[in-house]
């Protein structure tokens, strides 16, 4: 004799609402713990939602295609088939209405069912006076709500600064959220996408007729993703002391290698694949750039996990080529294309775009001469890859026709210095000018 609420989970660190794309279960179905019950569109991707508890579906409260606010009750289960769940359903509908109203800026969100639980609600977090204590045993069985492993001082800090713990990644043992994590989250914002403002302009732009009277057209509401990008990049650019160093690479050999690979076995190798490979190797030589910045500490990584900025409709995302230093050019290329495809379909899983130790942003396909990128915090550097241009180059005292690729590194001066950036770029140039080394 018990009912179970399936509450909408925060499926990404920045999610406060989502859309139920499709239900995989219907009323009367038996659901096992861990079973996928629905697909949810978050602010970043479409993800599968697994039920934490099992039971028989009494009613689906949020229809497919509707907006679902985090913590709303999407479905009510009963522990036995045929059991009445009318009371639980009525209560859930009331809660859902309150949460929806709160999300739209109306009535405040209802108080968490148990004050001893840190509850993710769209309303402001409790103040210090009602700072969440953490007693897992106090969680109400009927309303499983998100709980966090967090240290006492971090919980207090989060409450004082109105931080949403769902957006904070815990770096302590078993994902424990520590003071450093919440301080960092406050400083840097918490969304994990954002990099160079790569624009997905079409190859042949069509002229859009402007209004004759010149009056502004209606405001376009920004998508959740666009808002996250706006916040993240503004914070990055405003708080990180960026400096940039540009290097020109004699790219004759690099361009030749593309053709040779294609001729060899139809293998498609792009300049980007080669640059990612070269960057991964260069990061092993210059680990100071393979790092993240944490206020009073810089964390270096023993793996070159390279984010590659990918343009998607109305935004961009930076999926990660993990352990790029241990992958061949071909593996890197295949992986980047697979990730880009998933990104375009909104199907990236969180682990595929959260984290990373370095970012490569490439506008080479637009043939630009050079550009600078905005650092993807907490990383300390981002590489902007321009297009290969036909230019006069000097070889053996003679000006000859050559190919030049310009690379611009933006680095966080709090963590690295100009000499580090210059040394890294020199290694990168050497690797790209003699690219055979990238293929072994």
């Amino acid at each position: 004799m018990a009912t179970i609420d399936l509450t909408v989970p925060a499926k990404s660190p920045t999610m406060t609402e989502g859309t139920i794309v499709a239900w995989r279960v219907k009323a009367g179905d038996l659901v096992k713990s861990g079973q996928v019950v629905a697909e949810i569109q978050t602010d970043k991707a479409v993800v599968e939602w697994e039920a934490l508890d099992g039971g028989t579906v009494a009613e689906l409260l949020i229809p497919a295609g509707s907006i679902a606010y985090v913590n709303q009750v999407a479905a009510v289960l009963t522990s036995k088939p045929g059991e009445s769940a009318a009371a639980a359903i009525a209560k859930a509908r009331e809660l859902n209405a309150q949460l929806a109203a709160a999300a739209k800026g109306g009535a405040p969100a209802p108080a968490p069912a148990a004050p001893a639980t840190v509850v993710l609600t769209p309303a402001p977090m409790p103040t210090a006076a009602s700072a969440p204590a953490l007693h897992p045993q106090a969680a109400p069985a009927a309303a499983p709500q998100k709980q966090y492993r967090i240290t006492p001082v971090a919980a207090r800090f989060a409450a004082q600064h109105g931080l949403d713990l769902a957006k904070v990644r815990g770096t302590g043992p078993s994902g424990r959220i520590t003071l450093r994590d919440v301080e960092e989250a406050r400083r840097a914002g918490t969304a994990l996408i954002g990099a160079a403002p790569a624009a997905g302009a079409p190859a042949k732009a069509k002229l859009k007729p402007f209004r004759a009277d010149g009056a502004p057209s209606a405001d376009q509401a920004m998508s959740a993703m666009r808002q996250v990008i706006a916040k993240r990049l503004a914070e990055s650019k405003a708080t990180i002391p960026h400096f940039t160093v540009t290097e020109a690479v004699d790219a004759g050999a690099l361009a030749a290698i593309k053709d040779q690979c294609a001729a060899y076995d139809g293998v498609k190798v792009t300049v980007n694949d080669l640059v990612v490979r070269a960057a991964a190797l260069a990061l092993r030589i210059h680990p100071r750039l393979n790092a993240t910045f944490h206020g009073t500490a810089v964390r270096q990584y023993d793996s070159a996990d390279i984010c590659v900025a990918v343009a998607i409709p109305d935004g961009l995302i930076t999926p990660i080529v993990a352990k790029a230093h241990a992958k061949s050019v071909r593996q890197i290329g295949d992986e980047v294309r697979a990730l880009a495809k998933k990104a375009a379909e909104g199907r990236l899983q969180p682990h595929e775009f959260q984290g990373g130790s370095f970012t490569v942003s490439n506008l080479g396909m637009f043939g630009v001469e050079s550009f600078t990128a905005i650092i993807n915090p907490p990383q300390v550097a981002i590489l902007a890859v321009a297009g290969i241009k036909d230019e006069p180059v000097v070889r053996g005292g003679q000006v000859v026709a050559g190919k030049v690729l310009r690379l611009t590194l933006s680095a966080d001066h709090r963590a690295v210095d100009g000499a580090d950036a210059a040394a890294f770029l020199r290694t990168l140039r050497e690797l790209l000018e003699a690219p055979a080394g990238l293929l072994v």
Binding site: T151, V153, G172, T178, R180, A297
Partner: protein, 354 residues
């Protein structure tokens, strides 16, 4: 932070004393001495001031003390006030309690605090309870002093640290200084109090040299001292452990972790407010001690921190103690048993999630 500075120069062993009550004047109001001399000087000054103070123990008179802490006191004050006893800790502790009841101020030396165990009943049941059980008629102004903690390779029976043990009993004050400055100021306070004091010295730092003021000063009980300022992790330590903590702190500083080393100086009363103030700043705490882990100083500090500033903690309070085994005789095993700097470094890193 009180004077905890490396002396401008070390004692010249060929021309200058390394024991006795006379410090080496440096001409600017300061004097150079080591920890053993600092205690001797405190005894000398207070015995001169107060004729009711007398010193008693094994070899304290003719032999100047097993560790030369009572050097020249016999010569200065005579055999009425500096008395050699037989090897009978139980006997002379009882005698001292009786003497204190008559209004005298005995100072007794245990050649090692390990030997206080045969006088345990006198200390715990008589010295610390007499005042209460006589309705305040007989306060016991008794100072029990001697070396505490592990010596070099003296094995299981002679390596105990008793701070936590004696702190357990109401009625006892437990003092455990780490520097000459602290030792002198605390000993003088002990000699002017009205209750029994366990004054725990450490053989391994008797030779530690420091410049201290020539002018008289006292250090009250229950007031700790910050031996090193830092913002990342509070390290609480007493006695010899302070020096291990400072060594670890230097090493950690090179890795970007700044420790604040807090020396409570008296384990009972414990300056928990000073420790808590530091933890409110650093949010992390590691306690280092030569006592054992179970029921040790670390257990007490951790519990009190939890009560006082639970919401300030960013990591569980770490404890680096003597491991819970009989002290091995082998030097390499002794090294691993004691709370040495390498273990402190590890514990601090753990607390800092590093």
């Amino acid at each position: 932070m009180t004077a905890f500075l490396k002396p401008r120069r070390p004692i010249d062993l060929k021309r200058e004393p390394i024991n006795g009550y006379k410090g080496i004047p440096l001409g600017d109001g300061s004097q150079l001495l080591n920890l053993r001399m600092a205690i001797c000087q405190a005894l000398y000054e207070e015995m001169k001031r107060d004729p009711t103070i007398f010193v008693m123990g094994e070899e304290v008179a003719q032999y100047n003390g097993a560790y030369k802490v009572t050097k020249d006191l016999l010569k200065k004050f005579g055999e009425q006030r500096v008395i050699d006893t037989p090897i009978t800790e139980g006997g002379f502790t009882g005698l001292a309690v009786g003497a204190a009841m008559t209004g005298l101020r005995p100072v007794i030396e245990y050649m090692s605090w390990n030997f206080s165990f045969v006088a345990f009943d006198q200390i715990v049941s008589n010295a610390s309870k007499m005042c209460y059980m006589t309705g305040g008629m007989f306060p016991i102004p008794l100072v029990m002093r001697g070396p505490n903690g592990a010596g070099p390779r003296v094995s299981s029976q002679h390596s105990h640290a008793v701070e936590a043990l004696y702190s357990h009993f109401p009625g006892l004050t437990v003092v455990s200084p780490s520097t000459p400055y602290d030792a002198k100021g605390l000993m003088k306070t002990a000699l002017r109090g009205h209750n029994p004091v366990c004054f725990l010295e450490n053989e391994m730092i008797y030779g530690l040299e420091q410049e201290i003021p020539v002018e008289e000063y006292l250090i009250p009980f229950g007031k700790g001292d910050i031996k090193r300022v830092g913002g990342d992790c509070t390290v609480v330590a007493v006695s010899r452990s302070v020096h291990w903590a400072l060594e670890a702190a230097e090493q950690l500083a090179r890795e970007g972790i700044e420790c604040e080393v807090v020396d409570p100086r008296t384990v009972k009363p414990l300056d928990i407010e000073l420790i808590a103030a530091s933890v409110r700043k650093t949010h992390r705490c590691v306690v280092v001690e030569e006592c054992y882990r179970t029921g040790g100083i670390g257990a007490e500090v951790a519990a009190q921190l939890m009560e006082l500033c639970f919401d300030e903690l960013d990591a569980p309070v770490g404890r680096v103690t003597t491991t819970e085994n009989p002290m091995p005789y082998a030097a390499n095993l002794e090294h691993e048993t004691l709370p040495k700097p390498h273990r402190i470094v590890q514990a601090v890193k753990l607390a800092c999630y590093r």
